[in-house]
């Protein structure tokens, strides 16, 4: 009977122990400067594949810096990664943020989603910890007056406007249906897209909603079908984008399909089963292949993690390097000392040339539109590069 009671607990214990993270902290010698970089992204849940990709990008930058040997204020710096799982959940994000603050991180790369970056940014601001998000695009993120919040990606206003203009001016589409996943990112992008499309003479004939956990959209798509749109725009991520485009085609609809950066993933093609052919998606910055260091980065990423880049890994890589550049310039890894330097950094990253405006948004903000052609993401055109919208 005792065995009966203990055995299941032991099994559970083992299983849970196996799930734990293995972050090892090596003892540091006195002439070494230990710099803790916090990273936060969803490592579990529906967007875990993209979140892990973020962690990989951050890890690569940190390992590169350690291999290269970076001097900060004359001391050799050793960077350590503290990776946390925010589960795409705004509440968990604040807990994770506090945990990173308590662990005395020197800076944070994250969070991945707008919905998590925004609540977490208040905690980083209160504690004076610089935060560079690789991928939070909601306008609000940098508009809260927090001098600690930066991003290396264009915001929804820039991206939504570029896509809205592309759909109307370049593709000449008139009747547009819009769906979003009710997250800060999806909703923000969809709203900006709709605004830009309407400003250019298109008609938004349906505005529908789903969640970031749904897989069945047949009901919403059927109701849209009756209105016969030329284009369906979805503000959301690929876990919803894939089944949505499949169900769109399964319902016999010829409507064009477009997403923002959340759709520009290898998974959309791998899982789309042909339904994704012709779909559009965008990614801030210029195509990775056009950047001198971009191709090299993606080759090294694939060699190391045995999978193609999912989405934001290059942006994480750039974010870390921006942070390190600011630390070098300030000659210190202390948050209060190097924070003022971040805004002044100008860096040729793997995604684009990075410099910030006074709000912490990336300057310029080119957006590249891609289309699936014969089962491959092909560059259609790079839009903008205009000054950031305010």
């Amino acid at each position: 009977m005792l065995i009966n009671r203990i055995f299941p607990l032991a099994v559970l214990g083992l299983a849970l122990a196996a799930c734990g993270k293995n972050e090892t902290t090596l003892p540091s010698s006195s002439d070494e400067l230990v710099v803790k970089i916090g990273a936060a992204a969803p490592l579990t849940g529906p967007q875990a594949h993209v979140g892990k990709d973020n962690e990989n990008g951050t890890r690569m930058a940190i390992d590169d810096a350690n291999a290269k040997g970076v001097l900060i204020g004359g001391k050799k710096a050793r960077f350590e990664l503290l990776s946390e799982d925010d589960q795409t959940d705004p509440k968990t994000a604040t807990i994770v943020a506090q945990k990173l603050v308590d662990a005395k991180v020197n800076g944070v790369i994250g969070h991945m989603n707008s919905g998590t970056s925004i609540p977490a940014s208040a905690i980083y601001f209160k504690n004076g910890i610089p935060q560079i998000s690789p991928s939070a695009t909601a306008v609000k993120f940098t508009a809260q007056g927090y001098n600690t919040a930066f991003r290396v990606m264009t915001n929804d206003a820039q991206q939504g406007r570029a896509l809205g203009e592309f759909a109307t001016k370049v593709l000449g589409l008139k009747k547009i249906a819009v769906i979003d996943d009710r997250t800060a990112y999806g909703q923000g992008l969809a709203d900006e897209f709709a605004k830009a499309a309407e400003a250019n003479g298109a008609q938004i004939i349906a505005r529908e909603y789903t969640t970031d956990k749904s897989v069945d959209f047949t009901a919403v798509l059927t109701s849209i079908k009756g209105k016969q749109p030329d284009l369906l725009f979805f503000g959301g991520m690929d876990p919803q984008g894939v089944p949505m485009v499949k169900q769109l085609r399964a319902l016999g609809m010829k409507t064009q399909f477009m997403m923002g950066d959340g759709g520009y993933t290898p998974k959309l093609i791998e899982l789309g089963g042909g339904a994704e052919e012709g779909a559009y998606a965008s990614l801030p910055g210029v195509p990775l292949d056009n950047m001198p260091s971009g191709r090299d980065f993606s080759n090294r990423y694939e060699a190391r993690f045995h999978q193609p880049i999912q989405l934001y890994a290059p942006y994480c890589y750039d974010a870390v390097n921006v942070m390190i550049a600011a630390m070098q310039k300030a000659g210190s890894a202390e948050p209060a000392k190097y924070l003022p330097e971040i805004g002044k950094v100008e860096l040729n990253g793997v995604t684009s040339k990075i410099a910030f405006d006074e709000k912490g948004d990336i300057k310029g903000g080119a957006v590249t539109v891609y289309q699936v052609r014969q089962g491959k993401w092909s560059v259609v055109q790079t839009m903008g590069g205009a000054p950031a919208a305010h």
Binding site: P8, L43, T44, A48, H49, K52, Y209, L271
Partner: protein, 307 residues
């Protein structure tokens, strides 16, 4: 009219899957009074096993039909073993514990299974390699494909089979006996543990079939897929009257229909005031309404008999 028909088809397909998964919840509840929250994860494991076996068989150049059948059988076998183990490890030692304890272990098992699947199959989405193309049929202006027709037919056959099993076989009679009064059934010579194990295995086999059908329909498998499906199926079981087999079927199909008609028409009905973002709200609103007027669900028996 074709839009309405399409929405009804959408709802039926979705509802059939809910119903199959709901049966697993309701059978276990009927017999043990326990809500097996790990059931959704069993569906996910079934889908994962089917995916792995199907890929291997197709790579080994098996005939498509044979590969599909074998992978389904493999998924069912693994899930039955899993269902048996879950009951043996997590629930049986707590059978006489306060009711809260097994509920918590159920949630624990669910988390363990999810994380195990994440470790084995990774975080990424997998494509489900259905070896034949699912042809679409025009049907009075609505479109329905082979996989969807298959889902509804398989679900129907399984439900009828289950009714027969419970009401016409020896094992079914034993199940009903344990559900009615476990102490008396032991005195009558029923091996309660065997019956309970059988129930878990049966429910898990149905979960495996549901997992296969969902994967074939959406073409995607992911370690997190069981969570939401489990929650919806649980809702369906409660809606129909948890513990009642017919109730689970009815609840599943109803929930599917409510969701699809709700999402499709709520915007038009309220003049755009409420949109499809109220799809889930609508479904849960119906659930609340049913529970207020019929606390034991649509077809549920009076709870006083069980307590």
């Amino acid at each position: 009219m074709d839009i309405l028909l399409q929405q009804i088809i959408n709802g039926l397909v979705q509802g059939s899957v809910y119903a199959l998964v709901a049966l697993g919840y309701t059978m276990v509840y009927g017999i043990l009074g326990l809500i097996n929250f790990a059931h959704g994860e069993v569906v996910m494991i079934g889908a994962m096993i089917a995916l792995t076996v199907l890929k291997a068989l197709l790579a080994a150049a098996f005939a498509p039909v044979l590969a599909v059948l074998l992978s389904l059988l493999a998924a069912m076998a693994v899930c039955m073993a899993l269902g048996y183990s879950i009951e043996r490890i997590a629930y049986r030692p707590l059978r006489n514990a306060p009711r809260l304890a097994p509920l918590i272990t159920a949630i624990g098992v669910s988390i363990v299974l999810q994380n195990l699947a994440m470790m084995i199959w990774g975080r990424e989405y997998h494509s489900f390699p259905l070896p034949f193309t699912s042809v679409s049929h025009q049907f009075g202006g609505a479109i329905v494909n082979d996989v969807q027709i298959g889902i509804v037919i398989v679900a129907l056959v399984i439900m009828l089979g289950l009714m027969w099993l419970v009401h016409r076989t020896r094992m079914g009679r034993a199940m009903r006996a344990v559900a009615e009064n476990p102490a008396a059934s032991v005195l009558m010579g029923v091996d309660n543990n065997r019956v309970i194990s059988f129930t878990f295995m049966l429910g898990s086999a149905l979960a495996a079939i549901a997992g296969f059908m969902v994967s074939a329909n959406y073409g995607i498998v992911h370690y997190y897929m069981g969570f939401m499906l489990g929650l919806k199926a649980f809702t369906a079981a409660v809606l129909g009257g948890i513990g009642n087999l017919r109730g689970a079927m009815l609840g599943g199909v109803l929930l599917g229909l409510i969701e699809s008609l709700g999402a499709g028409y709520i915007g038009d009905l309220t003049g755009g005031f409420l949109g499809s973002n109220y799809q889930d709200v609508f479904a849960f609103f119906v659930l609340i309404a049913v529970l207020i007027f019929r606390p034991s669900g649509l077809l549920g028996e009076k709870l006083a008999e069980r307590a």
